[in-house]
Symmetry: C2
Subunit: 429 residues, 2 copies
Amino acid sequence: MTGNSLDQHLQRYAQRTTGMRASAIRALFSVANRPEVVSLAGGMPFLNSLPLEALAVDAAQLVGEEGLVALQYGSGQGILRLREQICQVMSLEGIDAHPDDVVVTVGSQMALDLTTRIFIDPGEVILAEAPSYVGALSTFSSYQASVVHVAMDDGGLIPEALVAAIAAVQASGRRIKLLYTIPNYHNPAGVTMAAERRPVVAQICRDAGILVLEDNPYGLLGFDDKVHRALRADDADNVIYLGSFSKTFAPGLRVGWVLAPHAVREKLVLANEAATLNPPVFNQMMISRYLETYDWQSQIKAYQHTYAERRDTMLAALQQMMPAGTTWTHPTGGFYVWVTLPEGFDTAAMLPRAVTNRIAYVPGNAFYADGLGSRQMRLSFCFPTPERIVEGVRRLSDVIDAELDVMRTFGAHSPRPVGGPRSPSNDTL
Amino acid sequence: MTGNSLDQHLQRYAQRTTGMRASAIRALFSVANRPEVVSLAGGMPFLNSLPLEALAVDAAQLVGEEGLVALQYGSGQGILRLREQICQVMSLEGIDAHPDDVVVTVGSQMALDLTTRIFIDPGEVILAEAPSYVGALSTFSSYQASVVHVAMDDGGLIPEALVAAIAAVQASGRRIKLLYTIPNYHNPAGVTMAAERRPVVAQICRDAGILVLEDNPYGLLGFDDKVHRALRADDADNVIYLGSFSKTFAPGLRVGWVLAPHAVREKLVLANEAATLNPPVFNQMMISRYLETYDWQSQIKAYQHTYAERRDTMLAALQQMMPAGTTWTHPTGGFYVWVTLPEGFDTAAMLPRAVTNRIAYVPGNAFYADGLGSRQMRLSFCFPTPERIVEGVRRLSDVIDAELDVMRTFGAHSPRPVGGPRSPSNDTL
């Protein structure tokens, strides 16, 4: 956000406010709502397979029979029954946790906010994958953290790059507080941290006195019947784990959680109270009832099936239509494919032309705190139908082809650095 | 929160975290839940008059027919229809606002948090009434604000005291960013800012370059068919207004809002997104439907009637049972009576004995950032039935009488300073 001379309050803002910028997510939510645009931008889950009629009965019972509790103030930590169920959900990833160490939050975004709030003083460093989740970068920025990216490849975060980044930051005299990582079906990169790297990454952080912030919204949405073991499963003292029902159930209730070492959990509850008093009680009871009453693991399988089909469709369309020199990742779960265009492209500059051609994506630089990612873009396969995905990739390839024509005629933009996973190339698909 | 030597993360917290303390609110939520205790502590609204069966039908329709929207991600500013309705609600208080300047938040607590976040750098001063809302003090503290209290009397904030406080803080070289005020049926003081003082207070703040943060959760809960004109109604540029459905409808959905000058509103949306992505969509649609479908002003009248009766009961019981030298305020709306005990009392020290006697209140010092209020307490008349209120005041008077006996025998605690409104005394009731 640049200074607005019409804002008479400009001299009054806190220093942290200068770091708040309009997020690519917000701008693209509005684009995505125009029906003529095929949006491969937003990360909205496809909710059509939810048992809405049955859930309607649940909602009615909750209000009608338990309304005096569901509509009342509640606990700043969240209701106990839900925290117990959250521990059951996390046990699928090898986590053995106590409900007392879980704090329910307004989506896992709020958990990100509270964790940043209690740990980060202005200027302190958070390590994050290159690229990283745009919403986390916004939160970190709003607390004046300094984000240092660490390279990934198809096996996720590269331990050697992590060691090098830690050394470089420490040599500069700055303090590193957290490593923020999305180990499974990464947003936006679409890659997963290899099993053998996980204990190595955890050990590197322990040795360096850096807490691991493990963000795992997509962990149960793998396409190969496999659930990856959480970093938290093998390190209860040095990992803070963030979870969410937004992708495995639905985001509109905004229920997420944080699992933290006990003393940290205490601080998180205080911060949660200062921020919201308590997360909405009705919403927690609704999720709790859903987990109690439904075969929620079958619902997750339905989501997996839907998203796997769409992933296949997107990868096939990319293979068929993208020009030579374009590469992309091959996610085994989650919502996203990370695409790298040939040299000379600038995906942020191209976006208005893409939207004119009724196709939207998120430009790569949104996922970097340091301006990298200009040749890259995130494509989501979660929400649009397979037909729309094919049509979207077709429109995108038209836009790219037109750019290529212009570049052949007038020359390319000057080359820029590229970050994040780029292999395998499409000819090795 | 004192340092915990068992917390291996103690050296890792941000500086702001040292200012986070377990709030009196939280401790008392758990006390209030024990049925044998008469709690005059919590500020829980009495929800029994809500049309729960009809609301159950609404909730079912919302999930069953609009679930794909209600359970999906939404806008960081909140849904437009609700923002329009919020403007209608505020018009009752003389406010003429545009829906584009409203931001929906997770309760007005989140609006407090976001406003503090965008304006306050560590060490900057927020002026607040003496006493002030404990939840606001927690939020301010979590952003390392320095709170300076300004005296009140039965007519609310005293303009001369405000001028003096501003001069004193400015003389000390510190910067004042906000005046935080609850003009109507103050929490905890139970007083209302006199109509003739409102423009004076607003003008003083404008002249001093201080934004007014007007917190008005109880404004529509007056007992005399009167709605006080909001400070915001006469000053759109220098007042940020906070509103809530927690008291006029129900708190369990956590829906509040902030109305701000346009440029500030933009920053608040960015901060809202960094904190939660968006407030829960289902909850917003539920409130919107309620405002659309129900005679919500009649529901508010039902609340007014309930609370007025309980206020009468509490004041009569205090008059009948409190020892000489005890004074209290006479609220014309809202939830709270502010009681000042005779010299020598320490309400925080007395609380464990009160709870043993199955009566709970909030000690006065919870409502001060500076340790005042030791002879005072907040009593809530909103939740307990009239019978329980009488029983509660009886138990409280027993506890106080026992303390008096001890004091007569062994001498009083050393006298401490007292803050906040103390008149009229009970003999002028």
